[in-house]
């Protein structure tokens, strides 16, 4: 991991959190769906990152977002869950030689792999967020619908961002 990667990731962190907090926070779809695009930062962290560091970054990112959302702990737990799913999925699906790629982005890994990866990670994150927010199983169908629509919304925005910024190699 060289200093350029570190710089790019820090830059990405600031931009994504800024967009999330000051733009997407005010967006919603009939109170059913809220996009959480900042998870893209955790999705495209480099392959070589140690597990402990990944969890620590996820924890810190969630904590920062929680501070602005006034839901201390909710996004923190969700980001940690996302990091865990990310580690599991990468260890199952990525072969050794694919580790030559610096980071699991759309351009590096192809559309199919990246979309499955993104769906699973985002689903884990959103399930934790919405169930911690509701915190009871009475309205499980409503919570699930909110969760799934938000997953679709987030996934759409994540793929959009990826297509705009990371498509060099696929062309």
């Amino acid at each position: 991991m060289n200093s350029r990667t570190i710089f790019i990731n820090i830059f990405r962190w600031f931009v994504l959190l800024f967009v999330q907090i000051f733009l997407l926070r005010n967006m919603g779809f009939y109170n059913l769906s809220t996009p959480f695009v900042y998870v893209l930062f955790l999705l495209v962290l480099p392959f070589g990152i140690p597990n402990f560091l990944l969890f620590l970054i996820a924890f810190g990112t969630g904590l920062t977002l929680d501070a602005f959302y006034d839901t201390l702990g909710v996004h923190t737990s969700a980001c940690v869950a996302l990091a865990f799913v990310r580690i599991l999925f990468i260890s199952v699906s990525v072969t050794r030689d694919a580790f030559d790629e610096p980071e699991p982005s759309l351009g590096n890994m192809g559309f199919k792999w990246f979309s499955i990866y993104a769906i699973l990670c985002i689903l884990a994150h959103h399930l934790v967020v919405f169930f911690l927010e509701a915190f009871k199983l009475n309205e499980i169908s409503y919570t699930l619908v909110r969760c799934l629509i938000s997953v679709a919304f987030t996934l759409f925005l994540v793929l959009l961002v990826e297509f705009i910024f990371h498509n060099r190699k696929a062309n």
């Binding site: 597990n51 402990f52 969890f55 620590l56 996820a58 924890f59 969630g62 904590l63 929680d66 839901t71 201390l72 702990g73 909710v74 923190t76 737990s77 969700a78 940690v80 869950a81 990091a83 865990f84 580690i87 599991l88 260890s91 911690l132 915190f135 009871k136």
Partner: protein
């Protein structure tokens, strides 16, 4: 030992996940009132019944003190009864005032869990929704003094946000001149015998040992004696002065409380909720 270490390092992602996720959940429960109240409510039944068993023993130890206080209360009630009878006999006509007469009913309840040492103290009592107890009802102590508000109710138990809680504020007034203030606790003072009265304007003359009573605004009936002023100080540059008072009731030995049912509370609240928002 080495094998254990190998096992942990092989599945380190899982263990990190458990640690960080637990930290996240703890943060959630500590900092979000809604999630905490739901978690509390579901454990309340279990914990409550356990504490009730434990309390059977504790009650015996304090039996002497309780007897004393009951005897005192009895005596006081007798005196009042005699006084009332005297008035009655001198009257020729009776006025039936059914609107005021039974506005408040008291439900006696036993304290089965009490705390005085934390910053936000919660009391659990052994009466719940089956006895007609509802959220936000006022709770007073047997002799003198206020206890708090009902926070959560389950069928057989209820939790009380005691006066010794950051979120509790009770409308009180000076007995001699009816100046309104609000009774709070905390703010650097964590002595369970003391509390503060805020929002008394600076120009009001107060003396040490003046009595503070509840004002009747809010859920408490008017005229319950709360405490005596023990310290007055004028905060510079502020138009209100904080008063420190010594509470009449001792939270550390609290065993029985009365929950105040206000028959007209609902009516009053519906009426007031019809008002346009003042802000």
């Amino acid at each position: 030992m080495r094998n254990l270490w190998l096992f942990i390092s092989k599945y380190n992602a899982f263990f990190f996940f458990i640690i960080f996720f637990a930290a996240g959940i703890v943060l959630t429960l500590k900092n979000n009132a809604y999630q905490r109240s739901i978690a509390l409510n579901s454990t309340n039944e279990v914990v409550g019944s356990a504490y009730e068993r434990l309390n059977v023993l504790k009650r015996y130890l304090n039996l002497g003190q309780v007897n004393d206080s009951l005897a005192q209360e009895n005596a006081k009630l007798r005196t009042e009864l005699i006084a009332l009878k005297n008035i009655d006999s001198s009257q020729t006509t009776k006025v039936k005032d059914s609107a005021n007469n039974e506005q408040y009913t008291l439900v006696a309840a036993k304290v089965i869990k009490n705390s005085i040492t934390s910053r936000n103290n919660i009391i659990t009592i052994n009466r719940g929704s089956l006895s007609g107890i509802e959220k936000d009802m006022a709770v007073i102590s047997p002799n003198k003094g206020v206890v708090g508000f009902v926070q959560d109710v389950s069928p057989n138990f209820a939790t009380i946000r005691s006066l010794l809680h950051k979120g509790t504020s009770i409308s009180v007034t000076l007995k001699k001149n009816n100046v309104f203030g609000s009774l709070v606790w905390g703010d650097g003072n964590f002595d369970f015998r003391k509390a503060y009265v805020k929002e008394i304007p600076n120009h009001i003359k107060v003396n040490l040992r003046d009595t503070i009573i509840t004002s009747g605004a809010g859920d408490f009936p008017r005229g319950i004696e709360v405490g005596r002023i023990s310290k007055t100080r004028v905060a510079s540059g502020d138009s209100f002065m904080p008063l420190e008072i010594v509470l009449f009731n001792d939270f550390s030995t609290l065993q029985y409380v009365y929950v105040v049912k206000d028959r007209l509370a609902k009516e009053q609240k519906t009426l007031e909720s019809n008002l346009p928002n003042e802000q």
